[in-house]
């Protein structure tokens, strides 16, 4: 958590899975909220399995991806497929300010956890319902991964080599999944402020596809207004309004990325590389880069006040903690954990709790939050409602 805890006193019922949902509640936890992640042996966060690195018992608690996005939360096992599990979750909702979920549409309804039921249980609750296409509309049941949303959101049509096909960000980044929590967290906070003021919660119907399209809003606006822009343009690394921009291959095979905004920048570049012959700037820069390392090329261009950098990869922030800034930190047992996309007073994230094991805090939630006695807790255990062992290996 941060030293600054504006979400202190806010309790979050967390059904967030994978990145989009689980990270929204993680960001609320980082800001001081008491986040209770609900899973069960019958249904775990898929990140527990996707990232599993062994098959020995407890494998479901060791996935790096799961640990990356679930710090500072408590975890309880309550099986929603069991009527008692559903009843307990509705009871929990009464003491929560926020519910975050990104199930496939229809799952919460099937469990009776509709907006109407949640609102009836707790009129102040804010429900952040994060889905592929939104909670309404003819395509609400469509399935998507992040790379699907690159395509259906419009970004892929604007990404690609000149003359080539639309290009998705790909499975190693799934860009549209990553940006969801950056806006969803802020929307939840705005709704919590509103609920505190008015006493009324809200259903936030957040469509991941709409977020992806929102991030190319000016292109949609231009396509509506200008018949010449109906066909999407793919221009590689070139950018409209920028004189020259591309990656150039350097000695050793690494690439340097260069932006020359205008003729003034192009002039400085020409001077820095020792003049430009009649073959033109691109040819001269290409030849010049081929004769030096990407780091040396970037250094010379930066000295001429030009934006330039070696194209870095996932190893760079591991090697250079200054570069990583607050984005990566070491959590429990040296595990790498995702940090925060902002800092307050220069301070980054503190990990106060490692990501919870499946069902790690079931007992304390039942006892301290739901005020159940030992006999009742034992009864639920006997029914299998609180089982924390995966149903299928």
């Amino acid at each position: 958590m941060t030293a600054f805890r504006p979400m202190s006193g806010v309790r979050v019922l967390d059904f967030g899975l994978l990145t989009a949902g689980a990270n929204t509640s993680a960001m609320l936890a980082d800001l001081g909220a008491d986040v209770i992640k609900i899973e069960s042996g019958a249904y775990m966060d898929p990140f527990r399995a996707v990232g599993a690195r062994d098959t020995a018992p407890g494998w479901w608690n060791r996935s790096p991806q799961y640990h990356f996005t679930n710090r500072n939360k408590r975890g309880a096992a309550l099986n929603l497929k069991h009527a008692e599990g559903r009843r307990l979750v509705l009871e929990l909702a009464k003491s929560c300010d926020v519910l975050v979920e990104n199930f496939r549409r229809g799952v919460l309804e099937r469990f009776g956890l509709t907006w109407e039921a949640l609102k009836a249980a707790n009129p102040r609750i804010v429900v952040a319902s994060i889905s592929s296409q939104g909670d309404t509309g003819p395509w609400r049941l469509h399935a998507s991964y992040g790379s699907t949303l690159d395509a259906t959101g419009g970004l892929a049509s604007l990404t690609g080599y000149a003359g080539g096909a639309p290009t998705i960000s790909g499975m190693d980044v799934n860009y549209p999944d990553q940006v969801v929590s950056l806006i969803a967290t802020g929307l939840v906070i705005a709704a919590v402020m509103d609920a505190r003021r008015t006493g009324k919660g809200a259903l936030l119907d957040i469509s991941q596809r709409e977020i992806a399209s929102f991030l190319i809003g000016e292109e949609i606006m231009a396509a509506a207004a200008d018949p010449a822009r109906r066909q999407p343009r793919r221009t590689g690394n070139a950018q409209e309004g920028v004189l020259f921009q591309d990656c150039l291959k350097c000695a050793g095979g690494k690439w340097v990325a260069v932006t020359l905004a205008d003729t003034d920048a192009a002039g400085r570049c020409a001077t820095a590389i020792g003049g430009v012959p009649h073959t033109g700037l691109r040819a001269a820069l290409t030849a010049w880069c081929a004769n030096r390392s990407a780091d040396d090329a970037a250094k010379i261009l930066v000295a001429a006040s030009l934006p330039a950098s070696r194209v870095m990869d996932g190893m760079d922030p591991l090697r250079d903690p200054g570069l990583a800034g607050g984005t990566l930190l070491r959590g429990d047992g040296g595990k790498l954990v995702k940090g925060m996309p902002y800092a307050f007073d220069g301070a980054g994230l503190a990990i106060e709790r490692a990501a919870p094991d499946l069902g790690e805090h079931t007992l304390e939630i039942l006892r301290d939050v739901l005020k159940l006695d030992e006999a009742e807790i034992a009864r639920l255990d006997g029914l299998g409602v609180t089982s924390a062992t995966p149903d299928t290996p």
Partner: protein, 377 residues
């Protein structure tokens, strides 16, 4: 579904958005997006434009029907919906005096760009303040950046495109916009803290850090395997393939290869070489050679419906123009109409949330002449 009536969640909140005349567009676009989101949520956002004008007014894409050159940039119009724009006076002393007056008024939050000559006046204020910067705190801030080099430093370029070709940027302004979303959330955290009676520390966003944060799987992969994942192009499990009338992203879950086989119905996919996922990952090109003709023979919407019918998460590569009237965006009123005050109607996406079923229609930015206009109800 979209309406303009009634208070919005942030109605009654006033935010100052301070343009630094010397800031690059990468910072300006990030800050402007954060300000736009709070304005569309109902806050009064006063954008303090430099005397020389905001360079974004001259940035593409343009709206050919808008005659006023100061408002013909779709980028400018999109990023400034809902705002009141107040021109700052020329001259350092006059700007500082005006800024000091504004910061002393009833302001709930501030968005600003690093390197502002009047940073000390902003630092002296006590309301939530969010600074938009390029490099992480502590790095050499004088090293110039563009959105493109932010993507290079953040590793995002490395991960997109073909391994045989140059690294590829994402379209649009993703390096700035991702940071703009983070700035919005940081501002909301500050406002919530202030309303809870907490002292609100200044917040800072770094475009480079946000890009690294977005690209966390690269660092996670590097940490686990000792080498970074990189762009896979034609060897990737997920690829974009050509249909008869466009393209579709061929995406499927780790357990869905059988569903893909059932969809395409080509017995060559039963080859034992493709039996397990590790095997499939090592011969992606051979699999795609078999898959392509089936897709090429069908329209992208035919494929989309067939795939979704089997729960396979494929999706067509829609263009911005396609998004204006697909059944889903229409049903959710995602594309809103906006009067730009120039006699021409504009169409643009609303905020990506329905709030109790309500969408927040954007309204065009308007110029205000003075402080009284900036604060008028």
């Amino acid at each position: 579904m979209t309406d303009e009536a009634g208070p919005r969640p942030l109605t009654g909140t006033t935010i100052l958005e301070i343009d630094n005349p010397d800031a690059g567009p990468h910072l300006r676009l990030a800050k402007a997006l954060a300000g736009k989101i709070v304005a569309d949520l109902g806050a009064t956002v006063i954008k303090l434009e430099a005397a020389a004008g905001d360079p974004v007014r001259a940035m593409p894409p343009f709206l050919p029907a808008v005659a006023d050159t100061a408002r013909r940039s779709a980028l400018f119009q999109f990023l400034n919906t809902g705002k009141r724009i107040l021109k700052m006076p020329a001259g350092a002393t006059a700007r500082r005096d005006a800024l000091t007056t504004l910061l002393g008024a009833s302001i709930d939050g501030v968005l600003w760009e690093e390197g502002d000559d009047d940073a000390s006046a902003i630092a002296a204020a006590t309301m939530p303040r969010v600074e938009i910067g390029g490099w992480p705190e502590g790095m050499t801030k004088s090293t110039p950046l563009s959105e493109f080099t932010v993507m290079a430093v953040g590793g995002l370029l490395d991960i997109v495109g073909d391994p045989e070709r140059e690294p590829l940027r994402l379209g649009g302004h993703q390096a700035s916009y991702a940071a703009g979303l983070a700035a919005f959330t940081a501002l909301m955290a500050g406002l919530a803290g202030r309303r809870a009676g907490l002292a609100t520390p200044p917040a800072r966003i770094s475009l480079v850090e946000v890009m690294l944060w977005v690209n966390w799987k690269a660092a996670a992969g590097a940490f686990a395997d000792g080498r970074s994942p990189t762009r896979e192009g034609g060897r990737s499990e997920f690829q974009v393939v050509a249909c008869r009338d466009g393209h579709i992203a061929l995406v499927y879950g780790v357990t869905q290869f059988d569903a893909v086989k059932a969809l395409v119905g080509d017995p060559r996919l039963d080859d034992p070489r493709f039996a397990t996922r590790p095997q499939r990952r090592s011969c992606g090109e051979a699999i795609y050679d078999i898959l392509r003709p089936w897709f090429a023979a069908r329209t992208r919407m035919e494929v989309y419906e067939l795939a979704q019918g089997k729960g396979i998460p494929m999706g067509p590569a829609f263009s911005p123009f396609d998004l204006l009237d697909d059944p889903q965006t229409l049903a959710r009123d995602f594309i809103a109409a906006m009067d730009d005050g120039q006699g021409g109607g504009l169409r643009l996406p609303r905020l990506p949330v329905l709030w109790n079923g309500r969408g927040f229609a954007p309204v065009a930015a308007r110029d205000v002449a003075d402080l009284a206009g900036a604060f008028a109800p």
